[in-house]
């Protein structure tokens, strides 16, 4: 990019020592500066995304270290993405009011504080406060700001490649997360992952001054009711899904709470959807009145943007389910170490990167719809091959081809969806599109982990209880105790996975 900029600038009789004209040197400086900005923003994106995948291979180590269970760590992972999803739209709006660079910096401070708390956490509660709470809130300020700062620091012709590089940083983080988490957990402790995050945050913070800020809104107004409704609605819905494994989807579990004869999950999800419905009505009313809503619903009239957001949602729903399930198979069923688990996921990381980089290079004129469909079919094929290979005598080798196929699929989607969504509307709306994009991806990731985790635990519980009930060699009192323990779904009680 640097060379391109130098060679396309018109000539100027005033040259510097290197033989460049004054405007050429200025353009080169600008290109160098914007490259630096891109590196800073990409580092921020890398860090935020890394956090969603880095601990999946270390779930058992973290659970053992903190004296909790897989369900407890699953709660922390899901809450992290839930907090991000719930606060992302609000975080974007705050950035528009106080300045995106300031929001980026404040978000980094909050996020870094959360990383430090997590690194030092003595139990699950403190872990959830630091990781899910503080880091989630910090990320909700940082991620929409990244989208807006790209738009503010790059001319229109360079934005597509800039957004592409930011997406690649996220893809690299998804790919590198399991290996980094596995290596650090095996050779040191999972706590060093979060300590390392603090160092990276400090480095990014020092570089923030070099980023040009985008203008804040001319007439700033904060849609407080819209913010509260979005946070409340999203939180209720996902929290309901999250608790389904412990409380039951509809029928309450033994010793679990119930409301009017059904599980509280039903009421949480219904309540959440009603609040989201109220949010949509409120935002439509604000927009009709010419006021500044949290979300402009008229944006959804763009089929391209809506399609991009929905596909983003499904991509993260699917990949978070896979990233939750496969490491559990490797680490719990096959009893591999965290590092071995991370290494077994490497084919996915490699093919993901390969597809994300190669598709735009080799097929720049390819139909986004076709590329995404082929990508999803590749993910489907990988999942089905893995299902077919799961049997009692299976070894770690069975994940090789499925991981490669899933990685190819995710990479293909990553190469298309960012450009499809951001380019659907005028550049002036890129910040809002970015906020929505991050909301959909984080909501998808949160739901994916919760849904797949709940179904896994529920199916495991049912199978285990059925097995011991029909096994005559298991004493009746042991069967009864196991049934109560398993069906209670209490994260504080030991469960066999």
């Amino acid at each position: 990019m640097l060379r391109d900029s130098r060679t396309t600038v018109a000539g100027n009789p005033m040259t510097d020592g290197a033989g460049w004209t004054g405007s050429q040197a200025a353009t080169a400086d600008a290109a160098s500066g914007s490259t630096r900005v891109l590196v800073i923003l990409a580092a921020g994106q890398f860090l935020m995304t890394l956090d969603t995948s880095v601990m999946n291979v270390s779930i058992r180590s973290v659970a053992n270290d903190l004296g909790t269970t897989v369900t407890g760590i699953q709660t922390a992972i899901t809450l992290y993405t839930l907090v991000m999803a719930a606060f992302m739209i609000t975080g974007g709006k705050i950035g528009a009011l106080i300045g995106r660079r300031r929001a980026f910096a404040i978000g980094l401070v909050v996020y870094g504080s959360g990383s430090l708390v997590t690194a030092l956490s003595p139990n699950l509660t403190v872990l959830i406060i630091g990781w899910s709470g503080l880091e989630g809130l910090g990320a909700a300020l940082i991620m929409p700001a990244i989208v807006a700062l790209v738009a503010g620091n790059f001319p229109k012709e360079r934005r597509s490649s800039a957004y592409g590089l930011i997406a690649a940083a996220g893809a690299i983080a998804v790919a590198a997360g399991p290996l980094v988490g596995g290596a650090v957990t095996t050779f040191a402790s999972w706590r060093w992952v979060f300590a390392g995050e603090v160092v990276i945050v400090l480095i990014i913070l020092v570089s923030v001054r070099g980023i040009k800020d985008t203008p804040t809104e001319a007439s700033p107004s904060f849609d407080t009711l819209g913010a509260l409704l979005s946070i409340f609605g999203l939180s209720l819905t996902v929290y309901g899904v999250l608790r389904s494994g412990v409380w039951g989807w509809v029928r309450p579990k033994p010793n679990g709470p119930s409301l009017l004869g059904v599980s509280p999950v039903v009421w949480l999800v219904i309540g959440g959807l009603l609040v989201i419905g109220a949010l949509l009505l409120w935002e439509a009313r604000l927009e009709e009145a010419g006021r500044s809503p949290m979300v402009r619903l008229s944006m959804f009239k763009s089929m391209q943007m809506t399609g991009g957001l929905v596909t983003f949602f499904f991509q993260f729903l699917i990949q978070s389910g896979i990233f939750f399930t496969i490491p559990l198979f490797l680490s719990v069923v096959l009893e591999l170490s965290a590092l071995q688990t991370g290494l077994r996921l490497l084919p996915l990381s490699l093919t993901l990167l390969l597809a994300a980089l190669a598709v735009p290079k080799l097929a720049p004129r390819a139909s986004p719809r076709l590329v995404v469909r082929l990508g999803m079919l590749s993910m489907l094929a990988g999942t089905l091959v893995l299902v077919g290979g799961l049997d009692p005598g299976a070894n770690a080798g069975i994940v090789l081809i499925p991981m490669a196929l899933v990685g190819l699929g995710i990479g293909a989607l990553a190469s298309q969806l960012g450009a499809v969504t951001v380019s659907a509307l005028p550049d002036s709306m890129s910040a809002e599109v970015g906020g929505l994009q991050n909301t959909f991806t984080n909501f998808g990731a949160s739901l994916g982990t919760a849904l797949v985790g709940a179904v896994l635990i529920g199916s495991l519980t049912t199978s285990f209880i059925t097995g011991v009930t029909h096994n005559p060699s298991v004493p009746a009192e042991v069967t009864a105790q196991a049934t109560v323990t398993m069906e209670s779904g209490d994260p504080s009680s030991p469960i066999p996975i």
Binding site: V310, S367, L370, T383, V387, S423, V455
Partner: protein, 48 residues
């Protein structure tokens, strides 16, 4: 114990079937994506 190992595999298989089902559902929504590459009109070279 055998029941434990068997239950783990059944749980994982069920979870992966759910992932597969979600992928199939997601495929139906890809019809909303554009057929033409993004920015194709601007990127095409003008005929001389």
């Amino acid at each position: 114990m055998a029941e434990n190992a068997s239950a783990r595999l059944i749980g994982l298989r069920t979870a992966l079937w759910l992932v597969a089902l979600i992928t199939v559902v997601g495929l139906f929504f890809t019809g909303m994506l554009p057929r033409r590459p993004v920015g194709a009109v601007e990127d095409l070279p003008r005929p001389v």
